[in-house]
C-alpha cells in the first residue's frame, strides 16, 4: 500500500469514472501530485460490479463489460502518474482543502490545493421509499445484488420482485437472468416505464409480468422475504417472493459535504456548484453523480475530464473569483432542480457546458430561462439539457406547462 501524502496538488475523493478521468486529465496536463482516495478495495466505482451493459464507447472506442472498463480507467489514470489509494475512507472535509482520512493504519490528514468530490451516487433504500411491513433478509438494491453476484459469486435471490423500471432496473433483471433467478414481477408506480432504453421486450422474454400504476407497500417475512403487498387502484394483494430488489431512485452520496461546511442543494442533493464545478468552498470541486443523479458512466467520465480542466485553471489562479457568482433561481413547477446552481461572470470555458435539469413529474411545455425558451416533453429521471445562460442576463428558471 502506498503511503498517503501529507500534502498534494489535487486530492480526488472517489475512484469511479469521474474521479479516474479527472486524475488522468490532471496528470496528463502536468499537474504535479494527484492522489485518488477510494474507500473500496479496488478502484472503478459502480461499473466494477456491473458485469454486463455496454461501457467504453466514448472513452475507449469499443464496447466493454463493466469490470474491464473499470480496470481500463484505473490503468489509464495510474499510467499517467496518478496515485490510487484503496481502502481509504475520507471521514471529514475541512475548510480550504484539508481532509481527514481513515485507513487500515488509522487516521491521517491531507492538505490539498484542490479537492475533487467524485463520490458518486447510491440507490434509495426501502426506508426512503416508505415501505411498510417487516425487515427480513433478501431486501436489496441493484448495487448490493450485483456486488453479491459479480464480486462474491452468490445467488442471493431466486424469485424476487423488482421495483422500478429505470435503466438500472433492467440491469437488475439481467443480473437475475445471469444467476438463473426468475423475477416474479417488475413493479412501476407510474403508467409507463421510466427508461427510454429499448428493453421493454426483456421482461416478456423472461416471462416476468410488469405491473404499472402499482406500488409495493409492504414486505413480509421474518428471516427471509416470503411475500410482498402490491397496491393497484387502492386494492391490495399479496404476491409470494423470496426477495425484493429496490432499483434506481438514485441520490448523490453527499454525506461528507452535508456533514461539512460545503453547501448542498436540497433539491439536487449534490453540492452547490458554479459552471466550473466549484463548490461554496472554492478549494472543493465536484463532478459525476455526486452532482446529481443519475448519469451514465460515460457522462461522468466526461464531466470528470471537464472539471479537471477547471481545477487546472484554479491551480494557476486563472478561474474568476466565486464571489461574483449569481444564483439560478428556480421557480420550480415541474422542474425539480438544475445544475449548476451558480453562474460566475467570466470568459473561461465552463466545465459543466450545459444546464442540466430534471423534472419532478411528467410534463410538457416550455422551459423559460431568462429571456430564452426551450420546448420540453419529458419525465422524471430523464436527462434534459440546455445551453448555459449568460451571467449577464436574468437567471430565472420557469416552466410554461401545456396541459
Amino acid at each position: 500500500m502506498r503511503e498517503l501524502p501529507d500534502r498534494c496538488d489535487v486530492l480526488i475523493i472517489g475512484g469511479g469514472p469521474a474521479g479516474l478521468s479527472a486524475a488522468f486529465t490532471l496528470r496528463a496536463a502536468g499537474v504535479g501530485s494527484v492522489h485518488v482516495l477510494e474507500r473500496e478495495a479496488e478502484t472503478g466505482g459502480i461499473p466494477r460490479h456491473c458485469g454486463h451493459s455496454p461501457y467504453g464507447m466514448r472513452e475507449f472506442r469499443r464496447v466493454m463489460g463493466g469490470q474491464a472498463y473499470a480496470k481500463a480507467l484505473s490503468a489509464r489514470a495510474q499510467g499517467a502518474g496518478a496515485v490510487l489509494h484503496c481502502n481509504m475512507t475520507v471521514t471529514a472535509l475541512h475548510p480550504g482543502g484539508r481532509v481527514s482520512v481513515s485507513g487500515p493504519d488509522g487516521l491521517h490528514e491531507i492538505a490539498a490545493r484542490a479537492v475533487l468530490l467524485a463520490t458518486g451516487a447510491r440507490e434509495s433504500s426501502r426506508v426512503a421509499r416508505h415501505v411498510g411491513g417487516t425487515k427480513p433478509g433478501g431486501v436489496l438494491n441493484t448495487g448490493s445484488l450485483q456486488g453479491l453476484v459479480y464480486l462474491d459469486g452468490l445467488k442471493p435471490v431466486r424469485r424476487p420482485v423488482i421495483v422500478g423500471t429505470e435503466l438500472v432496473s433492467f440491469s437488475a433483471l439481467m443480473t437475475c437472468l445471469h444467476i438463473g433467478a426468475k423475477p416474479v414481477a417488475m413493479v412501476e408506480s407510474g403508467s409507463r416505464p421510466v427508461t427510454r432504453w429499448p428493453t421493454h421486450w426483456l421482461p416478456q422474454v423472461l416471462g416476468t409480468p410488469v405491473y404499472f400504476n402499482t406500488e409495493l407497500t409492504a414486505v413480509h417475512g421474518k428471516h427471509r422475504v416470503e411475500a410482498v403487498t402490491l397496491r393497484h387502484n387502492g386494492q391490495d394483494r399479496e404476491l409470494e417472493a423470496d426477495g425484493v430488489i429496490f432499483t434506481g431512485k438514485f441520490r448523490p452520496e453527499n454525506a461528507l459535504a452535508r456533514e461539512a461546511h460545503i453547501l448542498v442543494d436540497a433539491a439536487s442533493q449534490g453540492p452547490e456548484v458554479d459552471q466550473f464545478g466549484r463548490c461554496s468552498d472554492p478549494a472543493y470541486f465536484a463532478a459525476g453523480n455526486a452532482l446529481r443523479t443519475i448519469e451514465t458512466a460515460g457522462w461522468c467520465w466526461d464531466e470528470g475530464r471537464s472539471v479537471a480542466q477547471s481545477i487546472i485553471l484554479a491551480l494557476n489562479g486563472e478561474l474568476p473569483d466565486r464571489s461574483g457568482a449569481r444564483k439560478i433561481e428556480n421557480a420550480r413547477g415541474p422542474i425539480a432542480y438544475a445544475v449548476p446552481q451558480y453562474i460566475v461572470p467570466g470568459t473561461q470555458p465552463a466545465a459543466l457546458k450545459q444546464l442540466q435539469l430534471r423534472l419532478s413529474r411528467p410534463a410538457r411545455g416550455a422551459v423559460k430561462l431568462g429571456t430564452k425558451s426551450f420546448n420540453v416533453n419529458s419525465r422524471p429521471e430523464r436527462r434534459i439539457t440546455m445551453p448555459l445562460p449568460d451571467a449577464g442576463l436574468p437567471l430565472t428558471l420557469g416552466f410554461d406547462e401545456v396541459k
Partner: protein, 467 residues
C-alpha cells in the same frame, strides 16, 4: 466456545429462559454470585425479541410509580450501570432530559411531575421557563411553554450493554444455548428437568425471563399463569447523523397513564431518533412498520425540532413491549417450586435490567439458593460503537472500513465473529457491529460483508435488522 459445553449431564444451579436484556443481566448477576448458570434462548441469536428495539435511554425513574418495584429496579439498575460501564467499556452519554410542555394543560401538570420526581429521590430536577428551555435547546420549536430538566437521564447502547452482561457471564463460567426452546418441564421437589429443542436440561432453579412469551412459559412449566402478555408495538424513525446537531437533551413529552410518549433524542452512535408509538396488538412475533405512522413520526419530530422537516430518515424500526395488563413488573418466586417469573417488563427493561437481576437474585437466595460470589471475576471490555469514545476506525491496524456509513472496520467485524458471544446471523452481527445500519442500508458494503462473513454465519442473507 464456552456456551456449548457439557450442558446435558450437568446439574445447573439456575437456568434462565430468555436472553433478552433482562435474561442477560440475570445470567450475569447469578454467575458473579457463584451460581452455575445456563441461558436458554429459543431464537437463533440473543436479543431477538423485545430487546432488539427500544429508545436506548438509561432512565432515572423520575416518572415511575412511587414505591413501585419498577422504580427500585430502575434506580438500582441505573446506579449499577454507572458503576460498571467503565469496567466493561460501555458508553454513557449523560446528556440529561427535558420534559416539555406544549399546552396549558401540560404546563399545569409539570409541578406534579416535579414533585413526583423528588418523591422518587430524583431530587436534582430543575424547573425551566420557556426562555431557559430554549437557551438549553436552541433548535427546539419556539412554541414550547415550559419544561423541567432531569440531569441524570442518559443515552446508552441498547445492544452492547446486554452483550456485555452475557459475555461477562459466559467468560465467568455460564453457558448459553441458542435455538433452544423450552417445551416442557418437571420439578421433583429438588430440581427441574427441562425438555428443550436442544435436549434435557437439569437445573435446581428456573428463571422465566421469556419476555413476550413469559406467560406461555409459566403455563408450560407451572400449568398456570397469573398474567397475560399484551404486546404493545413501538415504531421508530432514525435520522442521519447530520440531524444530531439539532439536539442536545433527551426530549420527553409530559407522560400519560399509558405511555411515556414520543421521544426525540440522539443515539450514542450519533444519529437522532423519534419514537416510539404505543399500539396494542395480539401478534407476538412480528412488529409491522406502517408507512403512514412513520410519516406521522417525522411530522411529530419536526413539530418538536423544526429542522427535522428537511432531514432524511435513514432507518426505521419497530419493536414490541412485553406489557401485561398491569403497570407493575410481574416478578414473583413460586414458593416450593424453585422458580421465579420475571414478566411484564413493559418498557423500562434496559434501564431496570441490572436492578431486576439483583432483586431476582435476592428472591433466589430467599428460596434457598446458596452460592459463593466469585472473588475476582473477569471483566470483559466490549467493543465500543458509540461516538462518545474513540472508535476503531480512528486506530491503526483496523483492517480498513467495511461499512462506510457507520464506519465499521474489518477488525471489529472479525472480533465480533470470533468473540465469546459470536453471532450466527447477519441480524446478530448488525447488533454487535452496526454494519449496514446507516444511510445506505447495505448498498455499498453488502458484497464486502458477504465476503468477510463467508462460512461464518448460519445464513448470511438472513438479515432481519433494526435501527
Amino acid at each position: 466456545m464456552p456456551q456449548l459445553r457439557e450442558s446435558r449431564d450437568a446439574l445447573f444451579d439456575v437456568a434462565v429462559i430468555g436472553a433478552g436484556v433482562v435474561g442477560c443481566a440475570i445470567a450475569r448477576r447469578f454467575t458473579l454470585e457463584g451460581a452455575k448458570t445456563i441461558v436458554l434462548e429459543k431464537a437463533h441469536d440473543i436479543l431477538d425479541g423485545a430487546s432488539k428495539a427500544n429508545s436506548a435511554i438509561l432512565h432515572t425513574g423520575f416518572d415511575a410509580p412511587p414505591g413501585s418495584l419498577e422504580l427500585r429496579c430502575i434506580q438500582d439498575g441505573h446506579r449499577e450501570y454507572e458503576e460498571i460501564c467503565g469496567d466493561l467499556n460501555l458508553p454513557l452519554d449523560r446528556c440529561g432530559a427535558l420534559v416539555l410542555a406544549w399546552t396549558e394543560e401540560q404546563e399545569a401538570r409539570l409541578t406534579a411531575l416535579i414533585e413526583q420526581a423528588r418523591a422518587n429521590s430524583v431530587d436534582d430536577v430543575v424547573p425551566l421557563s420557556r426562555a431557559e428551555t430554549l437557551a438549553l435547546e436552541p433548535d427546539l420549536a419556539s412554541n414550547v411553554r415550559a419544561s423541567f430538566q432531569v440531569p441524570r437521564e442518559a443515552l446508552i447502547d441498547p445492544w452492547s450493554a446486554p452483550h456485555a452482561y452475557l459475555e461477562q457471564a459466559l467468560l465467568n463460567g455460564a453457558s448459553l444455548l441458542r435455538d433452544c426452546a423450552v417445551q416442557a418441564g418437571h420439578f421433583d421437589g429438588q430440581s427441574w428437568q427441562l425438555e428443550t429443542t436442544k435436549g434435557a436440561i437439569h437445573t435446581r432453579f428456573v428463571i422465566n425471563a421469556a419476555g413476550l412469551y413469559g406467560d406461555h412459559v409459566d403455563q408450560t412449566l407451572l400449568g398456570r399463569t397469573d398474567f397475560d402478555i399484551r404486546p404493545r408495538k413501538g415504531q421508530f424513525i432514525v435520522f442521519d447523523k447530520t440531524a444530531a446537531k439539532f439536539n442536545r437533551h433527551i426530549l420527553l413529552p409530559v407522560p400519560t397513564e399509558k405511555t411515556k410518549g414520543i421521544v426525540v433524542c440522539r443515539t450514542v452512535w450519533g444519529n437522532l431518533l423519534v419514537g416510539p408509538t404505543a399500539e396494542e396488538q395480539q401478534e407476538r412475533d412480528t412488529a409491522d412498520l406502517v408507512p403512514e405512522t412513520l410519516e406521522y413520526l417525522h411530522q411529530k419530530g419536526a413539530e418538536i425540532l423544526p429542522a427535522l422537516a428537511g432531514e432524511p430518515v435513514t432507518a426505521v424500526y419497530a419493536g414490541l413491549r412485553p406489557a401485561s395488563g398491569d403497570k407493575e413488573y410481574q416478578i414473583r418466586a413460586h414458593a416450593g417450586q424453585n422458580m421465579i417469573t420475571v414478566g411484564g417488563i413493559r418498557s423500562t427493561g434496559l434501564s431496570g435490567a441490572l436492578g431486576i437481576a439483583r432483586h431476582v437474585f435476592a428472591l433466589g437466595q430467599k428460596a434457598g439458593l446458596e452460592t459463593t460470589p466469585l472473588a475476582d471475576p473477569i471483566r470483559p471490555q466490549v467493543a465500543n460503537l458509540s461516538e462518545i469514545h474513540e472508535r476503531d476506525w480512528q486506530r491503526p491496524g483496523n483492517g480498513g472500513i467495511v461499512c462506510h456509513c457507520e464506519k465499521v472496520t474489518r477488525r471489529e467485524i472479525d472480533a465480533a465473529l470470533e468473540g465469546p458471544l459470536a453471532p450466527n446471523t447477519l441480524a446478530g452481527l448488525k447488533r454487535r457491529t452496526r454494519v449496514t445500519m446507516g444511510r445506505c442500508q447495505g448498498f455499498y458494503c453488502s458484497a464486502a460483508l458477504a465476503a468477510c462473513t463467508r462460512g461464518r454465519l448460519a445464513d448470511p442473507m438472513t438479515g432481519e435488522s433494526d435501527a
